[in-house]
């Protein structure tokens, strides 16, 4: 009796999952690099005296 050869199918599934996972990892890594760069920039452009800026930001009520 021939056995059903399941291995190749399983290998294919694993590859597919691995592809998705590494794609996901790339996206996550890219987002992390992007965030780090963004935070570097923010360190430079954020209002220097944050407390004073936030305290003095007062608006008249509008609609």
């Amino acid at each position: 009796m021939t056995e059903q050869i399941k291995k190749p199918k399983v290998v294919r599934e694993n590859t597919a999952v691995a592809d998705v996972e590494s794609g996901q990892q790339n996206r996550t890594t890219n987002l992390k690099i992007e965030l780090d760069n963004l935070l570097d920039e923010i360190d430079e452009v954020l209002e220097t005296n944050a407390q004073e800026f936030v305290k003095s930001y007062v608006q008249k009520g509008g609609q």
Binding site: L35, V45, A50, Y57, Q59, G62, Q63
Partner: protein, 495 residues
């Protein structure tokens, strides 16, 4: 068949005057004034048709104070058909009437550029220690709020009570993709203070389900009945329950999804069981929950998360598109909106952070959380609130949203064009083109009329129909006339 969803956005900008105690009405006037000296083609606003005390529920409120008439002096119409003025101590830009949500995105962007250019010009005239800075947000963190209002054309025949009940679940839940995010809470009953993150800038300020007020006890559904067009045929739904967005995709979804749902309501296709039990509570509870798991009670006792409510609305919208088509919102635009709506909901379901390039609250929270972690800060650190405010800073060199790689739908040359050229498919075309052709002879204008100096007399041309006065209908007329007098003679009674 639902009426064409002609729509627009009015944005009140935050404004500060650095270096001196100049009052915000003056600072705002300086912006409008500076823009007007560079652009001689602007004209004055005609107030005679304003009726902000008319209530859609059928009565006139007599003693209602109308503060914005104090600033009549600084109130202009631009050649792209927009209105640029000072309202309640804020500079405000109203886009011209647009035929589609995509067009609104473009004209909203043009409005931003107008504010930027005005600020640049005003600051050039000031001594070096002084600077005007503007912010496209809705809250100062001290209990004061200012609005980003949307307007949608609807059929008069749709009962207002039906519109109010059926549009409320969307207004309460759409903040999951169009909320601009906020660090802190200003609600009177809230125990949480500076360290809480909210999805919406405005949720704290809604105290009623429905009402005429716009500056205190704000209602989720505003009953202002000032159609600025034929009142026997139309209604203008004036929406105050939204945040100003920096993300173009968020603006598209805010206006696009609302337009589709309003068309559904007009055509009697709104799912009848999808009504909320306690909307005022729900809008705040949703705003305070960035895990998107908070549930609100429907009128029938069921409970749904904001995501579930939005998915139900999306499903109903798909059914509506199949049964009625999306002509009311422009078929092509409607399909883009449905697609992006689905993408955004799916993204929020699987991982909200995946939407950091399209949803403002996600982009902002990502920056706040990252900065907090990097510098080991407490939640109530002023720098985190500063990030919240600076996300909306209109200066390119300071704006945090400009650095967030937000997805862009407009091209720079389109935005440039929209600063001076009106939309072609609404009456804004007539208003803007008249102003461009004869700037010295357009004495005043407002949404539904233009007043010409026709030589020996002043002549008012009524424009009661938002879908007339388009390029298709009056373009060649303009080309064939040398003077306003000739145009008036050929037009007949009205546009």
């Amino acid at each position: 068949m639902a009426v064409a969803k002609v729509c627009g956005i009015e944005t009140e900008y935050g404004i500060i005057f650095k270096g001196s105690d100049v009052n915000p009405i003056t600072a705002s006037s300086m912006l409008v004034g500076a823009y007007s000296s560079e652009n001689s083609q602007m004209t004055d606003w005609d107030y005679s048709d304003e009726h902000p005390t008319q209530d859609a529920r059928g009565y006139l409120i007599d003693d209602y104070f109308i503060p914005d008439l104090d600033t009549q002096l600084v109130n202009t119409v631009l050649t792209n058909g927009a209105r640029y003025y000072v309202d309640h101590a804020h500079p405000e830009v109203s886009t011209p009437e647009c035929r589609t949500a995509l067009e609104v995105v473009l004209y909203d962007r043009a409005g931003e550029e107008i504010i930027r250019r005005s600020t640049q010009l005003a600051n050039q005239a000031l001594p070096t220690d002084f600077e005007i800075v503007t912010y496209k947000n809705n809250s100062d963190g001290k209990g004061n709020s200012y609005g980003c209002h949307e307007n949608y054309l609807m059929a008069r025949s749709t009962p207002f009570s039906q519109i109010a009940a059926q549009i409320t679940p969307h207004f309460v839940s759409r903040q999951i993709f169009c909320g601009a995010g906020k660090m802190g809470s200003e609600h009177k009953g809230s125990s949480a203070g500076g360290g809480v993150f909210q999805l919406s800038q405005r949720a704290d300020f809604f105290e009623e389900e429905i009402g005429l007020e716009t500056t205190i006890k704000r209602p989720i559904v505003n009953t202002r009945d000032e159609p600025h067009c034929d009142p026997t045929l139309y209604r203008r739904l004036h929406v105050i329950a939204g945040d100003a967005n920096m993300s173009e995709v968020a603006t598209l979804l805010k206006v696009g999804t609302t337009a589709i749902i309003l068309a559904m309501i007009e055509d009697g296709c709104y799912p009848p069981e999808l009504l909320l039990g306690r909307p005022v509570e729900a809008i705040r509870e949703f705003s305070h929950d960035s895990t998107l798991t908070q549930r609100a009670m429907l009128r029938d006792g069921q409970h749904m998360t904001a995501l579930q409510i939005q998915y139900s609305l999306l499903e109903a919208a798909h059914r509506y598109a199949l049964s009625h088509g999306l002509d009311a919102v422009d078929e092509a635009t409607g399909n883009i909106v449905l697609q992006k709506w689905e993408e955004v909901l799916n993204g929020l379901s699987s991982d909200p952070l995946s939407q950091c390039h399209v949803i403002d609250w996600v982009a902002k929270k990502r920056i706040i959380d990252g900065f907090k972690q990097r510098h080991t800060l407490k939640s109530d650190d002023a720098r985190l609130k500063a990030i919240d405010l600076q996300y909306h800073d209109m200066r390119p060199e300071r704006s945090l949203s400009a650095r967030s790689n937000l997805q862009v739908l407009t091209r720079p040359e389109q935005v440039q064009r929209a600063i001076t050229q009106p939309p072609e498919s609404t009456r804004a075309y007539f208003r803007g083109t008249a102003l461009q052709r004869w700037p010295d002879q357009v004495v005043a204008a407002n949404w539904d009329s233009v007043i010409f100096d026709a030589g020996s007399t002043l002549h008012r041309v009524p424009m009661p129909e938002p879908l007339r006065g388009t390029k298709a209908l009056v373009g060649s007329l303009f080309e064939s006339c040398q003077t306003p007098r000739q145009l008036i003679d050929l037009l007949g009674k009205e546009v």
